[in-house]
């Protein structure tokens, strides 16, 4: 067998440097769908049949201009009401990069969709209407982006055409944003004045705002670093599947026992001493392979099969780590959660909990506080309702093997599921 050094670039399509996943959030009528339509249109990603369709519908509805928002609003109800209800995923590419957009609705009742879109994003664009400046929703969007630890934030101050391309107005909003951001744990953010309607500073540099010297929105998206949230220091391998051929076709397969999964952190190499959790048994990595080809090292987000030197007991849901850098193994969890369903979270509530590849059951021991997402205040609460964010203490029936979310977004996140309806009711970030 040939040993090949493999880098994340070799792994499928999730190229490290070439793919940026970003989410967009804004209030109703901030022009978010128009902005995305503009990005698709100006990068010539929107196809002729889609544009023809949008033009036809715009004309039928009596819109003055072609309504680019129709490029993204896909469901019948959305088109009828002119709003975005659900997260929509859009794809476009330039010569420099591929992009995946999670377009999320801005209204308070759709906070859960914003959290959903933000959970996989490396960058988030928050739209602000230049006429209205910072509103409650802008603060909430920034707060959620910070909570979900999206590495980079872009505030797009939209509708500059409607404030006469006024620099003073922009600077005032920029200063307010700076103040909001310093109170949040956000490290990397930019503020860009745009008009999604006219296209100013979206793809093409605006001639109306000579006072702005920064990048256009697209240029920023093309050059922003990606994968800055990827943890390369703590080796973490949640076992997803145990591969044991039941009817071996060859003698080779007879003793085959591989542990398949996606690397969640660090670098794993053949020969490394590892610990299997929760059992705590130590052994060494004998071999790492991808579809029968041996690889020297595995890093996130590679999906690989690991072989261990000793015949130890490993099942789905176990986690392989390094003995001197092991994650927390505990049945007591302290977490921030976003509540996503009508029926409120109550103390003593019981839920199914999924964390990495492991299911367990959890009971709510305490609601420590509710977070007012508009002010950042911590408020005493005896329940959490739809779209509320709050801190809770949970107890689980079996140990959870985790890192704080701030350290690793994969091993630090979980979902709660209602056992009666099987609906996902909460997103959780471990502290």
């Amino acid at each position: 067998m040939v040993a090949v050094a493999i880098t994340p670039e070799h792994f499928g399509l999730d190229h490290d440097s070439e793919l940026l996943r970003f989410s967009t959030a804004g209030s109703v009528d901030d022009g978010k769908s128009t902005l995305i339509g503009r990005l698709l249109y100006d990068t010539k990603t929107a196809f002729e049949d889609q544009l023809q369709h949008v033009e036809d519908v715009s004309r039928r509805r009596g819109d003055v201009r072609t309504n680019l928002a129709l490029l993204t609003d896909g469901l019948r109800a959305e088109r009828e009401q002119g709003i975005t209800i659900d997260v929509a995923y859009r794809y476009f590419a330039t010569k420099k990069r591929k992009f995946i957009i999670a377009d999320t609705p801005g209204h308070v009742q759709y906070t859960r969709n914003m959290v959903t879109g933000a959970s996989t994003a490396a960058l988030s664009i928050v739209l602000i209407d230049a006429r209205h400046g910072l509103v409650e929703q802008s603060r909430r969007h920034a707060q959620i982006a910070a909570l979900l630890r999206i590495p980079q934030l872009v505030f797009a101050v939209n509708k500059m055409d409607l404030v006469g391309w006024d620099e003073a107005r922009f600077r005032q909003i920029e200063a307010e944003l700076r103040e909001v951001v310093t109170r949040l744990d956000v490290h990397d953010f930019v503020v860009i004045p745009i008009s999604a309607l006219t296209g100013a500073n979206v793809v093409e540099r605006s001639t109306e705002m000579p006072w702005y010297a920064g990048p256009t929105l697209l240029h920023h998206l093309e050059t922003a670093p990606v994968a800055t949230d990827r943890n390369l220091s703590d080796a973490r391998f949640p076992v997803q599947w145990v591969i044991r051929p039941q009817s071996p076709e060859s003698e080779d397969a007879h003793d085959y026992r591989g542990y398949a999964g996606q690397v969640a952190g660090g670098v794993l190499r053949a020969g490394d001493e590892v610990v299997v959790l929760p059992s705590g048994v130590t052994t060494r990595i004998a071999k790492i392979e991808q579809h029968g080809v041996t690889v020297e090292a595995a890093v996130p987000p590679m999906s690989v099969t690991i072989h261990l030197e000793d015949n130890v007991d490993v099942s789905r849901g176990d986690l392989i780590a390094r003995p001197h850098n092991a994650p927390v193994v505990s049945q007591a969890l302290d977490a921030m959660i976003c509540w996503m369903t009508d029926k409120p979270l109550a103390p003593r509530g019981r839920y199914a909990l999924k964390h990495t590849t492991r299911w367990t059951r959890a009971i709510v021991d305490e609601i420590t506080f509710r977070l007012d997402v508009n002010t950042g205040e911590q408020v005493a609460a005896d329940g959490l309702g739809l779209n509320d964010l709050g801190r809770v203490k949970l107890r689980t029936t079996t140990p959870v093997i985790f890192d704080p979310y701030a350290r690793n977004r994969t091993t630090g996140s979980f979902i709660l599921v209602d056992e009666a309806t099987n609906t996902t009711v909460a997103a959780g970030m471990l502290l």
Binding site: D49, A352, I415
Partner: protein, 272 residues
């Protein structure tokens, strides 16, 4: 169960399943919903690929559904079995008590599909409710269903048509030959070329002629159009896809053209 049609997206699913489960067998069978109106080349490919993999294939036949009176054949020159497939699929899910169907649909294909979850819930009638979808966070998929319900699972959700072709090239995956340019007898209808076939009646103004075409998608012969193309190799196809100005379904699928929300309507009923 994994839905395998012999089309390029489900061909990729098979490769991903090999990567996930080999050297063991897949922990699920393959299912083909056979309308009886397939391209013969697709069926040849399907059977060869299944034999190579040594996996189990279940064929659910729309003809059976018609014979058993579950559905009624459409009549006339525009008759298609496209919509009838939904019943055949739902019956197969129930008969085999499958709780998940892995499919090759992508979000870039169509407006309604852009809103779909990777693990997408179906109620006991097989229906999709786009307004009541489960939130899907990080890579934490919720695969829990009650008896009688099922999930549609779409691993290729975030792939684009170009991604699919580039992956086929990267992995050197063989395809049915009709994806590449070839001489074929076709007729023109609604601005699309259809393969001359025994299942469609020509309208009075339509005539058969020979063109050099290829297919961007492979569905039924009755509703899948071809595009004029000289792309005979993977590299030529990729160059053509990269330069394409019309979506693959817009160019070649009559089944999406009924109404503004044709796909959403069919998905609500339980279509792929």
């Amino acid at each position: 169960m994994l839905l395998f049609s012999g089309g390029k997206d489900s061909i990729i699913l098979l490769r991903l399943a090999e990567k996930a489960f080999r050297p063991a067998r897949f922990p699920f069978p393959l299912l083909h919903v056979d309308t009886g109106h397939n391209f013969p080349e697709t069926l040849v490919y399907r059977d060869r690929r299944v034999a190579e993999l040594g996996e189990r294939l279940i064929v659910a036949s729309v003809q059976d559904s018609i014979d058993r009176g579950r559905v009624t054949e459409e009549r006339g020159p525009r008759a298609s079995r496209n919509r009838l497939q939904t019943t055949t699929l739902l019956d197969a899910l129930e008969e085999h008590q499958f709780d998940a169907a892995i499919g090759g649909a992508r979000r870039d294909e169509e407006r309604a599909r852009a809103k779909e979850r990777i693990f997408s819930h179906r109620d006991e009638f097989g229906q999709w409710d786009p307004k009541q979808q489960r939130p899907e966070l990080w890579s934490l998929y919720n695969g829990r269903v009650k008896r009688g319900e099922h999930l549609r699972v779409f691993p290729l959700s975030n792939w684009t048509e170009l991604d699919v072709w580039e992956y086929i090239r990267l992995e050197q995956i063989p395809l049915p030959e009709i994806y590449f340019a070839h001489r074929r007898e076709v007729f023109e209808r609604d601005g699309m070329y259809y393969a001359a076939n025994p299942y469609v009646q020509l309208l009075p103004n339509e005539a058969i002629r020979t063109e050099t075409v290829r297919f961007r998608t492979i569905g039924d012969m009755t509703c899948t159009g071809a595009v004029r193309s000289g792309a005979r190799t993977l590299d030529e196809v990729i160059a053509e896809v990269a330069a394409a100005r019309v979506t693959e379904r817009g160019a070649t699928r009559a089944d999406d053209r009924f109404t503004e929300a044709a796909m959403e309507d069919r998905k609500r009923e339980g279509y792929f």
